[in-house]
Structures are given as structure tokens and as C-alpha cells.
Symmetry: C2
Subunit: 249 residues, 2 copies
Amino acid sequence: MDPTRSLDLRVDRSSPVPLYFQLSQQLEAAIEHGGLTPGSLLGNEIELAARLGLSRPTVRQAIQSLVDKGLLVRRRGVGTQVVHSQVKRPLELSSLYDDLEAAGQRPATKVLVNTVLPASAAVAVALGVPEGGDVHRVERLRLAHGEPMAYLVNHLPTGLLDLDTEQLEATGLYRLMRSAGITLHSARQSIGARAATAGEAERLKETEGAPLLTMQRTTFDDTGRAVEFGDHIYRPTRYSFEFQLLVRP
Amino acid sequence: MDPTRSLDLRVDRSSPVPLYFQLSQQLEAAIEHGGLTPGSLLGNEIELAARLGLSRPTVRQAIQSLVDKGLLVRRRGVGTQVVHSQVKRPLELSSLYDDLEAAGQRPATKVLVNTVLPASAAVAVALGVPEGGDVHRVERLRLAHGEPMAYLVNHLPTGLLDLDTEQLEATGLYRLMRSAGITLHSARQSIGARAATAGEAERLKETEGAPLLTMQRTTFDDTGRAVEFGDHIYRPTRYSFEFQLLVRP
DNA sequence: AAGTGGTCTAGACCACCCA
DNA sequence: GGGTGGTCTAGACCACTTC
């Protein structure tokens, strides 16, 4: 019992890293690497706090962060248990570029359009800018192994970001935004499907009428400004949306 | 400044509802109803705590829960701000039934198959049960306004739940599971698209080759057991997946 | 320099679960 | 009844932002 006993947990009080974070990282690593097996009960919080020389609230904060990630479950009167695996990561604001890179696909991007033009009505509504005002428009073709995977149309407000075509081909849009100091906060997404038009079919090497996976997304920064509106189509034989959801308690 | 001053916040110490929760509910209601407008800065935590007769950690817990919901943003050295709207709810483990009901569509369900049979290899892997062992299989057609919207195939382990056909037609599977005492914890989803087969087209009143939206989902309870595996197809002209994502800080 | 949130402590009592 | 997590207090010091 109390598998944390054999874990060599320790905190460094001279580190600038918060104590609760040091602890949660070590517990997460132990869960990842098998030191804490699924289903096992952690020892109680008070004893754990005493062993580490921490206060109980600090230990609770560490444990709570792992509960929020779905790695641990607490039951009153019972204890804290490691979730029976299969749970990996909750959904993040995913970037196709990052997804492909994580899958070892070495994505390539062709920037087809990179311009500034007047906002259409739909774009103006999505971004919260005046209709007819200037917005960036970027059209990109994303390829993996030389095969087209997705056709990405994005609109962005002007003045937020330099949209350099070379950078757009070297990385993803989200990384560009983050490195420009934009703090992404939330996004509203809609995923659907429809038949390819003749033009879409040609760009994606599909046939007219072939099923396409579609996504529309508006992304907001932490002040609530819309910073990006995307209208994307994917070849469903090459791409699907995979994600993990946590039920909020 | 400090718009919380005009808000008539109060807590009831005789209530069994936690104080931090009482406070977070009142703040959330104020955000919802316009008492706290987007962008406005809440007064500082210490003063708020003093005004309510609470300790600072309790007030922080209330505020933190709204930060987790994406309604507030904290900035060190600055203060706590109401997010500029447009943010509504983060993604939840959605039930098609609930989604339709929320949209005022009064969904109808036809149970086409409700049986127990040996698990196929794919079902066995998804549910973590032995191949060839007994599992429930449920096939349902979901309709709105008399039009078919989705064809739902679900497999469940036996022994968890009574699957009564009448109840399945009156409500959603998730509600049945919850009322059977199952605590849903997480789900792994995959959303894609493909062309309809002849059989699928007939069931959904589409034509062969028409684009379909597909979802596969495995749902886990809080012990990590797989409690449900679903393989669903949707008519993309009638249904799309809409959701809000929060970026984890 | 002043004000904010971020972290941390050392206690306390309660509600719930299980034997 | 004994042990668990859930809630709560009244302080303290620090890091960061803004002026």
C-alpha cells in the first residue's frame, strides 16, 4: 500500500519552480513510467505532505492538477487512485502542422495566396471587424509525403502579426501567433462534411463529389479578440480528428 | 471601478453549498446577465474576501473555477478580467440526444437492434473484453422532425446496465448510464468522413456515395473501464459537431 | 513604490465511505 | 469508528505589472 513510498519524491525549495508543480510533475512522470500503476491508491494527503515537508494545501494543489488532467480520481472516504490508463491527453487547440509533425510526417506547406483584402460579410462577423475593412487572407495547401492533405483558408485581422510567406511555409500559423506574443485562449469549432466541388477536387487530387471533412474555426486571444478565422477542408482518407474528452465533474 | 461592488454578493453560511461555489455561481450569473461586462476588472481578491467575510483562499477558489471555465482571465500585477464574451461553454461529452433536445428538436429514436452477441475483434479491443465474449449491441436510428439524422451503433459490456428498448427510445444512452450509477470520466473520439454505402444510404435517405460524417467513440468511467463503444454516422446536411475549446495555460 | 495575483503554511471541522 | 477527501481560516512572503 501507498505506492508513493517507493518513489523517491523530493522537492527543491531553492528552485523557482513552485513546489506543487514540482510534485505534480514527479507524480505524472511516475504514472507515465509505471512507478504508479493504474488503479493503485496513493497514500493519504496528510501523510504525503508530512513526508515531503509540505503543507496539505500544497500537496492538494499538486494532486488536483493531475485530477484536472484526468490522470487521477479522488473519492471521498476512499482515497486517490490512478486512472486505469487509456486516458492520454485532453483535447488541445490542435494545429494540423503540429499534428502531422507529431505523427512523424514532416508536413510541407504551399502558400497559394497571402494578401490583404476587404473583409466579406462572413469574415467580418467572425472576426468582429467592419465589413469591407482590411483583413489578411491566406490560402495554403498542406501536404504530407507529397500528397495533398488539406486546403486551408484563413483570415486574420491586420496589425496583429507579420504574415511572412516563408515563415508560413516553415511552420504553422499558431506557432507564428504565439511567437508574436499572442496568448491564445479559446476557439469555437465546427466540424462537418460535404461533397467536393470541381475546384476543390482538383486542388486535393480528389474527384468531384468526393466526401470532404470540413472545419471552421474562430480563435480568440485572452482578451476575447478574434485573432483568426479558418475555413479548412481535409481529405478524409488522409486525416481525421482524434481527441480525448474529459467529463467535468 | 470594481464592478463587483454593485452586485449584492452574499453567501449563506447555513447552506450546505460550499461558500466558494455560492460565490462562483453568483459571479457566473452576473457575467451571464450583464452585471459584469466583458473586459471589466474585478476588484482585488483580498478586498472582495473582506467584503463577503470570507478568507482569500476561498475567494480564490471561486475565481479559479471561473478561470477554468474560460469566463475570467487573471493577470499577475494587473487583476482579474471578464473575458470578452463570445466564449460560451467548453466542450462536453456530448450526447446527440441532448444536443437535439437543446436545439428544441424533440428527437425521436428507433431502436433497430438490441441484442447480446459475441464481441468482434474490433469491439473486444475497444472495450477491453475477450474476443467472442458477450457484449450488448444496440443499433438506433435518430430522427428529428421525422427525418433521419444519424445511424448509431453501440457496443457495451454486459452486466453494467439494463438496456431496455423502451427507455432507449425515450432518452439517450448517456442518461441511461448515468442513472445506472456509472460515472463517466473521459472519452476518446475520432471524427471523420466517408462516402455512404448503399445500405447506409437507404437507412438515412441519402444516395449511395453521398458524404457522411462519422464518429467513433470509446467512453470510460472513472475507474478506467471502457463502458461504451460507439460507431456513428451522421447526415452532414443535418448535423455537424460544434464545440468550444479552451487552451490550457 | 504601490498594487495585483501566485504561492505557501499550520492548523481546523465536516461529509462520506467502509469495515 | 477510523480514515479519507472537501472545505475553510488568517495570516505570510514573493513575482510581476504599472506608474
